[in-house]
Symmetry: D2
Amino acid sequence: MKILINAKGKKFLAGSEDLHTDKGFIKKEEILSSQPGNVLETHLGHEFRVLEANINDYVELMERRCSILLPKDLGVMAAFTGLGSGQRVVEAGTGAGAATIFMSNIVGEKGHVYSYELREDFAVVAEKNIKEFGLENVTVKCADVVTRIDEKNIDLVFLDLPKPWEVIENAKDALKFGGYIVAYTPYIDQVKLFTRILKKRDFSDLKSLECILREMEVKDKGIRPKTRMTGHTGYLTFGRKL
Amino acid sequence: MKILINAKGKKFLAGSEDLHTDKGFIKKEEILSSQPGNVLETHLGHEFRVLEANINDYVELMERRCSILLPKDLGVMAAFTGLGSGQRVVEAGTGAGAATIFMSNIVGEKGHVYSYELREDFAVVAEKNIKEFGLENVTVKCADVVTRIDEKNIDLVFLDLPKPWEVIENAKDALKFGGYIVAYTPYIDQVKLFTRILKKRDFSDLKSLECILREMEVKDKGIRPKTRMTGHTGYLTFGRKL
Amino acid sequence: MKILINAKGKKFLAGSEDLHTDKGFIKKEEILSSQPGNVLETHLGHEFRVLEANINDYVELMERRCSILLPKDLGVMAAFTGLGSGQRVVEAGTGAGAATIFMSNIVGEKGHVYSYELREDFAVVAEKNIKEFGLENVTVKCADVVTRIDEKNIDLVFLDLPKPWEVIENAKDALKFGGYIVAYTPYIDQVKLFTRILKKRDFSDLKSLECILREMEVKDKGIRPKTRMTGHTGYLTFGRKL
Amino acid sequence: MKILINAKGKKFLAGSEDLHTDKGFIKKEEILSSQPGNVLETHLGHEFRVLEANINDYVELMERRCSILLPKDLGVMAAFTGLGSGQRVVEAGTGAGAATIFMSNIVGEKGHVYSYELREDFAVVAEKNIKEFGLENVTVKCADVVTRIDEKNIDLVFLDLPKPWEVIENAKDALKFGGYIVAYTPYIDQVKLFTRILKKRDFSDLKSLECILREMEVKDKGIRPKTRMTGHTGYLTFGRKL
């Protein structure tokens, strides 16, 4: 997936069709034949650099109809579960597909992400996003994980759902020995209930984390944490099938 | 790599030789032929479950002669750089190899981690750790990245060094267009100097982050953040070659 | 100082003149003769409750031409210096007078706040605010603490200035044995320089603190930290004359 | 209350009797007639400086049989309630008296702290601590605030109790119009229940805060937040009688 960046750093998804901007257009063919780092010009002579989009570039620009998980939470989730190349993951719900794309990028072509989404409109957009970015290791399913998880021997079940505790039974069946279940929930009350049922279902290594991310402002006159920050997104609650 | 877990949840690295514990021993052959989830017994009749070690299990148990990066920081680093399967990474310094193993696990067999370590004693231990865990996509080099980085077209240069700014020039040569440089540094003064030189060398998307991780304590009498927490590990400072 | 609160909780400073609102007016005399908790009506029949303003009510409504210190930082400052009734404080700069009013409220009529402000326009507004609120233990001086501090035997010198290190010499003369100097500074670089000079001037008990305040959102559907929070205001750096 | 400090900065409560240290002793009379800043010598010739103890010096050294509230939380509580000279406060439970002394120091001789403690052993120690420090504006009562609060027209009711919601009814009667109730509680579940009942009892300006205090380490080789920090003490939940 290519991205074009203008002089001000603004990014545009590109490649499936001609790029039309308020500074003129660039032909699809020209984009397709370009290499990362090349400079292309619109018919009005404005320059755009070509970049191979990484997942964050793409997620920033793709269509979304719902809020998405932030890199900070996805990163902590991946690190504490040891997510890696070749793993097989079940996810619910898909939403716009940001977490899906994040995990797909890590598990790679030897791995697979099975992503369940109840709402058909979300599933359609997520599928489009995933296809557009060229990911071939993802299956989006418009289905309910509370009813049924088809897969077995899964490394990670990742839940971004209001009632993740309803999935614990099915997740346990789907997980391999040593696999992880993780729920992302904004409310502490959800952490409590989810943890209680994980415990009852004999999950091990229970842990509930919150990642507070501070960005530093580095200016000539000095360094300080930024004045504005996100106060809270959600808690990540982990259990392991042992 | 297999791990054996006793009834209390204590873990033991296993497989390259017989396991000797204070509850008796288990033969190497028995361990090798076991499957994850199996229960093995020592000659004294104590039970151990078999687990396929994930990277965190292993890093926790492996030999180390220096402090290691925590999953929270590695996760945030990976998420903000879009680290994924198939990527090629340069790292310095290797230390005990915790970050190396983390990245190796993500980039997978299509990717590669080139890890530079100045101190030979550290490099030897890291190499041993990496081999023991069975990773084949890592090259440990006892060499100085300030002098020279051999690789080109790299996706990520990750620096855990006291003076990461000395590597910026070489990192820029090694990186592909769109690739990232990241420094992990405990002191704010290092953030300042590193950022200043990144800027001078025309790196884009400069960002400096600190991940504060809070663990929640979920007990019958209530929920609260844990009383003890790590106050600070280090800052992650990012630049991108654009 | 009285405040009138309407049905929606909106507050209005009142008492020095008739109150005019978009729901009608209330006569000055009526306000003056009312008691806290009374309900007054505008000539159009809209109800307002009478409240004796505390300092936070007042600071929220008073005139200001510059940003003010937040209660979180003032509270931590007061707690770590043992600020109390009867103490004598030197402050610079006054700004709109929020910190002045905070300290005046604590030191009470047996104590005193000497507040230095370089800019005459700020000093005039601060003086007006302080008089209007009825504080009699404050002296606002349009003067430079770097040049001279007139007072001796002071319990606390509180500095909200860009270069607090320039005041250390004069502060030391003004402080009593056991008294505190505190600087509020947004940048870490200021913390560094201020601390270095405090050390050189033999101040004891050096400490630099940051207060991160999280507000919880308690709703029917659950509890969570608020999504929005202030990421950073300033550091409080303490020294003690011992 | 005087304190003697040795060359290493160690502090000793002094004045009610001779001071005996491992470096020799100093006579009570000598201590009583000394001034802050004076240097006294033990009979063995070791020097101690005389300091008028502020509340933090004293709280650090006084007898305690239970954990105490930290300055960070007391400061935030005082700042958000506008606690000041001349105010009248009801507190429960007294514990060792740290919060009592903090509030006593602020409300001064025109104010008063009525401190309720159920356990007689705690009340006895607290009373001793308060008398020893010379505070005359405190009344410690060995009684249960759930049963009865004797005072009226109170500015602040501060509760450090496991079930602060049981006191809401009595607190409302005791408070003046515009007065505050504050509960300090370690668990989020307590915040939830307390807030719910405050709401039902028509308290206004409900707010629940957590103060996370970070200490900076300023050394020659650089600045960083300290590695160790307290992860959590308690939440402060506020209501106002309006």
